[in-house]
């Protein structure tokens, strides 16, 4: 059973398009996150949700919009994709805020042409 799953695993698209990445966790965790990993493997936090409420919104272009329909799901929608958005996007969850350990999804490799 996959604890944190993401779809799709690969996403290739043209500049200017709009795309979504979906994330689901079956761990019963309260808190979920989106990270961006660049080509040098640097992990940057983008968003964090706790019980469907946005708690962390780092400096991210407003073309990125997270949505949490329930606490098991955190989706990421990206408008007007740019070349610089190419990266691997990871979803993660933790039991609650301040709980420490995070569980990561397998990642979505986004390539913008």
């Amino acid at each position: 059973d996959t604890a944190v799953s993401q779809t799709p695993k690969y996403l290739v698209t043209q500049m200017g398009n709009d795309k979504s990445i979906k994330c689901e966790q079956n761990l019963g965790h309260d808190t979920m996150y989106w990270y961006k990993q660049d080509s040098k493997k640097f992990l940057k936090i983008m968003f964090s949700y706790n019980n469907k409420e946005l708690i962390i919104n780092e400096t991210v272009p407003n073309r990125f919009s997270p949505k949490s329909p329930d606490k098991a799901h955190l989706n990421l929608h990206i408008n007007s994709l740019e070349l610089g958005d190419s990266a691997v996007y990871f979803c993660a969850s933790s039991l609650r805020q301040g709980a420490g350990e995070q569980f990561f999804g397998p990642g979505t490799r986004l390539t913008v042409l």
Binding site: L43, I56, G105
Partner: protein, 114 residues
Amino acid sequence: AQSVTQPDIHITVSEGASLELRCNYSYGATPYLFWYVQSPGQGLQLLLKYFSGDTLVQGIKGFEAEFKRSQSSFNLRKPSVHWSDAAEYFCAVGVAGGSYIPTFGRGTSLIVHP
């Protein structure tokens, strides 16, 4: 705000050799400390964590790490490396409670020679 430094971008070891990956953190109080491993094409997996108590922490896959407050370090060690340990290793530091988000180091890439 907390920060974490992994001074080594790449480390190359021979299979069977011992390994130490360095991690230094900056935080005013006792932090939460983590090591994660990322195999190629995979997500991150927790190797071990330190919250409090015994400063020598045992993790999965034969890894251990030691918290040294005086040196602000949390180095990861393994006595004998296997070829399957080749991966990217991330140290992370966090704080208790609040809108806690861990800060990750830039990662150390481990290359294992046969």
